[in-house]
Each structure stands twice: as C-alpha cells, then as structure tokens.
Amino acid sequence: MHPIYQILSRASKRNSVKPGEFIVVNVDLAEVNDLYLQVLLSFKEMGGDRVWNPKKITFVMDHYAPAPTIRAAENQRKMREFASEQGIYNFFDINRGVCHQVMPEAGLIWPGMVLVATDSHTTTHGAFGAFSTGIGATDMAAVLLTGKIWFKVPEIIKINIQGRIGKGVMAKDIILHIISQLGTDIALYKAIEFDGETVKEMSLDERLVLCNMSVEMGAKATYIRPDEKVREYLIDVNSGKYKEYKMMKFADDENSKDYESVYDFDISNLEPQIALPHRVDNVVPVSQAKGKPIQQALIGTCTGGRMNDIKIAAQILKDKKISPSVRLLIVPASHKILQKCIELGYIQTLLNAGAALVTPSCGPCLGAHEGVLSSGESCISSSSRNFPGRMGSKEAKIFLSSPATAAASSIKGVITDPREFL
C-alpha cells in the first residue's frame, strides 16, 4: 500500500483504504491563518464552546502581517483572544512569517502526519512525507470542534524527474515546466508523488517548491519519500517526532498498482522558465520572454522566499544596482530566514542593490497589501499565482519565475536570463 494510503489508514483507524472511499480521519495538526475569522464564526454557529485539543491547533498571522486595515486588525485581535481563551499556545503572530515555513521550523510537521490548514498551498508539506491539504473556513471549524475531517481517498499520480539541473535553473523552473506540460487540472481531487534522481538530489528547500506549486495542478496533497535530508531536518527541530515516525514502521513498498498514472520528465536541457500572464500553465522558456519590461520584482513568500532563494538573489545582485525603473521587494518566508540572511550578509547585499525589505509574510502575493500593482504595471515574481487581479489591479501583469530570474530581471528592468549573471 502506498505511504499516502498507509497514513490515511492509520488516521482513519482502518487496516487499509482504497481510492474513492469516503473516510473520516483524525487530524494531527490544524492551522488557521489570519484571513479567516469565518473559522471562529462558523465554530460558534455550530455551537462550539471548547476546541477538541488546543495542543493540535495552531494560528499563524501571516497574510495580513502586520495588519493593513482596521478590520484586519480587529480580526487578528479576535483570533488572539480566542487562542488565549482556548489555551492554544502555538500562536505565531505577525513577527514570525508564512505558515508553510513557520510550522516546519517550529517542529510541528513530521512524516506520516495529517495536517489541514486554511491555505491552498498546504500541499507544501508533502515534501516532509506528511499528508497535508488546504481546507476552507467552515471545514476548519468542524475540525476545531471534532478533531476530524472527511476525505475521499485520492488517486495518486507519480511524477518522476530525471536529469542534472542546469546552471541558473531552480526547482521553480522545473515545476513551471511540469505544470505547462500537464495542465492546471491534471491532479484535481488527486495526490501527486514526486520521485526520481533529480528529486532525491534536491535540497529540502527545493522539494518544498515542487510540493507547494502542485496545488496549481489541482493537487489535494503531495508526497516525497522521506530520506536522510528530512531526518536531519527533523532531528534538528523535533527529534521526538522523528522517533515516533520511525515507530510507525511505514512499509516502503513500491507497487505500481497504486498509481493512477505515471509521468516522466527529463530536465537535463531545461532553460529557466516564465509563466506569462494570466495562467500558471502559460509557460515559455526565458529566451522567449526576454526583454519584456517590468516595474516590480518580487522575491519571497511561501513559494520563493526560503534560504536557497534569497541566497541566489544575493549572489546575482552582489555589487550591482537594480534598474531605476524597478522596485525590488524581498519577502523572506520567515523571521528565522530573515535573521539567517542578515547574519550571512545577504540582506545587506540586497539593500545595497536597492531592494525594499518587506516583513516576512505572504507579502503582496494575494494583493492585500505591501506592494500591490497599479493598472498597466508588470511584475516578475517568485510567488505562486499570476491570475488576473491577484496582486492588485486586474489590469496588471504577473510573470512567474524563479528567484534567480526575478533577481536578474530587476537589474536590467526587463525579463532577463539569470545565466547572464551566474
């Protein structure tokens, strides 16, 4: 049985599960973000008084960090009060970063767990071997009440990635290429497993990008078999949970019958990729998008604001200046990443180049604040979505790229191949 089915069997107290079955699973961790006061409203409307288990609930104030409007501030205050009343001590306020980085750093994510969060990019944590998925506010209210959620057991798509990653090519380029080939609905109601030599050689930071962007193919959850890199990370942040995972004795059995379909990609000759407006699967090699003017470059968020991402941006921008026609925003995924980047001198390098530093958070990715776009503007971004109006005006254009391509483009003021600077 595939590890995803083993996780769902354990969580639903069954011996086995099959695709298409309806199951009710016990949730190991439920995360609520600051966008959805509706979670608390629905909880109260359901007649909720006490949450099922305050230790298994976490709040992260990341989408409106810090609060841009009075209403957002009121919502955050109500969440702080709720968490305090309920004894929910894993409350990460506006100074901590994006939930998908903050939770792993806090040792809350472990292989074999079931995580639900009120954010679609919750697919990210498949990179640690967790079953993790995004849910809406009222679903979450029922989780807070009962500790359970219903799932339809998903079919699994396997994506094998082979080949050596070329210079200036990042995980973001690989996943944009895959999305362009498979489409935005290939994995609707399904889970994706990533495997292959390239994935095994990737750092955890890079694997997180693959899993994070999988929701743009419709994926319900993702999975990468936990290896030595996950073990090392986990021992660092939560060694107890690693032991627990080992105790579960997940059988590592390879059974092709578990897969609804298998896709193979060889990325040996892949160029950096760009998703043109307004679709994530509208992807071309950077050579075909080169020279398009941009007014803003965004490096950051839960997709492209990890150590690896800021490091390469600093490498490209070292002793350079951004174009006077460009605003470069750096949004580290977490406070910890920001601190480490300060220690290593990356932030100084980026500030010297002319970057503006934004509070570790979701930043302008969802068009709420901290760098929204005006009509007629173009932005190159290491974030996840280029839908119309996503980052502000619906008359603005968003080009999705790797952090390296966004950094190189900020120097020239037009979309630029990062290999020119590496």
Partner: protein
C-alpha cells in the same frame, strides 16, 4: 433550506475561473454576507451582484471552476449574491467542499458549457442527478452526490449539520453498516 430541484437562468463563464476572480484577495477581511456579496466576480463581471438581483441564476462554467486559493469567501459571495447553484465540468477541490459546506449546490457535468447559452432556463434535480434543458426539451444526467455529501447539503451546509450531529462518525458509521 435544501431544495432538491433548482431552476434558473444560465449565467455562463469560462474555464479555470479562479477564486481570486470570484472574490478578490483585497476584500478577505470582510465577513458580513451583504458586504461580501457586492464583490462577487467584480474583477471579471462588473456589477455581477446587481445583474443577478431579483431572478434565479445558475452559473454554468467550464473546467476547474474555483481553482486557486482556499477562501470560503468565494462560494459565500456567490451564495449571498443570490446564485442558486453552479454547474461546471470540474471544480477546484477546496471550492467544491466549501460550496457544499456553505449550502451552495455544485454539480459536475461534462460538456454543459457547450449545451447551454447565456439566459437559457435549466432545471437541476439533485436527488436524481438530472439536468433538464429546454427548446428542445432534453435531459442530461450527472453523477449523483455520494450520500455523505448529500447529507451535508440536505442539512443546509456543514454548520447546520454539525449543529445537529456534532460529529462525522454518526454519518460514516451508518454507511459502513
């Protein structure tokens, strides 16, 4: 409350209508039904909520309706604006769950977009899994709701369901037997 048969006029939209287009991110701090309703679809159809006021409308969409963000505001805004149901070739999975949870019927039906025009009258029978089209009169079938989802929808959404049962095991246990 739950109506097994829903009639209304077709409001057509395309493929891959994401939740940012259904409900822009800049209004996510709002929670009241009337303030949410006015922003439904505002970036792609100006005055959508005014346009559909006073009549029963059913959104007919292509594939992947409601892809993207997990925001429950998206189906809530459509529901509060007065949309009676959505028929699409496929749905973003979080949107699909959210719609049922807020009591907005969502129906998966292939080729529906090719078979209907803006303003056509259609009738959906949720219990039997049938959509009726007129002039010429014909019926298209769709995969009926699993009992679990129908039960949530019949309660008027997950809030009323949980208010009544307080747990899921009630439902699943009964089906297992």
């Amino acid at each position: 409350m739950f109506k097994p048969i829903i009639g209304g006029k077709v409001f057509k939209v395309g493929h891959d209508i994401d939740t940012d287009q259904i409900y822009p991110g800049r209004y996510l701090y709002l929670t009241l039904p009337n303030e949410i309703a006015v922003h439904a679809m505002e970036d792609i159809i100006s005055d959508f909520s005014k346009k559909i006021a006073g009549e029963d409308w059913i959104i007919v969409a292509g594939k992947n309706f409601g892809c993207g963000s997990s925001r429950e505001h998206a189906p809530r805004a459509l529901l509060c604006a007065g949309v009676k149901a959505i028929v699409a070739e496929s749905f973003g999975r979080i949107f699909y769950r959210n719609a049922i949870n807020v009591g907005l019927p969502v129906v998966k039906c292939l080729d529906i977009i090719k078979k209907t025009h803006q303003g056509n009258l259609i009738k959906i029978n949720l219990q039997d899994g049938l959509i009726t089209l007129y002039n010429p009169d014909r019926e298209i079938s769709f995969e009926k709701y699993p009992a679990q989802l129908l039960s949530i929808l019949k309660s008027g959404g997950l809030i009323s369901y949980m208010k009544k049962y307080r747990k899921y095991s009630h439902l699943i246990g009964k089906l297992d037997n």
